[in-house]
Symmetry: C2
Subunit: 145 residues, 2 copies
């Protein structure tokens, strides 16, 4: 659990967020053009502030316990055109341009590639690019979560 207490110089818009007990909020990434939902990850105050400053999605990787600059290995950055906040101030929505057209670490466009059909999760989207060719064989998983 990282230290997520707002810094003294945190701007008001950032202090308005209601972080969970771990100092995180869910962040949904939506394709700004097609409206497709690409993924959901988590942000702490620093990652959200960096996202706003840099105009590219920066998440918090819970598994790695560190900032996760989306696309740092894959090149599949998310260029952010809008940052939205929900009525409870505890969920973020990003509208993004997905570089490479691939958001998912499986090499698919969206992480939501499975659909419930007749009591089974059915894969409805194909792999655009082999994850090994995205991340390399020796680097292991660079999946942020």
């Amino acid at each position: 659990m990282q230290d997520s207490s707002p810094r003294v110089d945190s701007p008001a818009w950032l202090n308005a967020i209601r972080w969970n007990a771990d100092g995180l909020v869910p962040a949904i990434a939506q394709d700004a053009t097609t409206g497709d939902i690409l993924m959901m990850a988590w942000m702490n105050a620093e990652s959200l502030q960096l996202t706003a400053q840099e105009g590219q999605a920066v998440y918090w990787s819970r598994s790695r316990g560190q900032l996760w600059r989306k696309g740092e290995t894959s090149g599949h950055q998310q260029v952010v055109s809008e940052i939205r906040l929900d009525c409870d101030e505890d969920v973020i929505l990003l509208k993004v341009e997905q570089k490479g057209g691939i958001a998912c670490h499986t090499g698919r466009r969206s992480c939501f590639y499975r659909k419930l059909e007749d009591g089974e999760w059915v894969t409805t989207a194909s792999v655009i690019k082999d994850p090994e060719s995205i991340y390399g064989k020796t680097k292991g998983s660079t999946h942020g979560e």
Copy 2:
């Protein structure tokens, strides 16, 4: 914290979900026609199973500690056309038809009605219907979260 351990008769598709420590996963509701993101709430195993069975969104209200049948007071049910699962099996995406065209307890179409502009959260969507006329004066907030 409710008992969210899978029941003996839980179907395989439900057991595939990786619930958090509280037995919950985030569930995003997206307008099936326009692609607009309407809200994000939480589900436990029972609420997800009921959503699949009934074809209407049933969430878990963390504030009330009980099942939250979306629209039970407002009439603004969400008719579910698709249930999707992400690559980590820990986020649900619902594609829905939003009855009444209002998903948010503030009387707006979407909960994501604020946008970050020049370091401020700016409201970009107007109230379609006064919440008092949706929920009544004496009932108090029926906001699920």
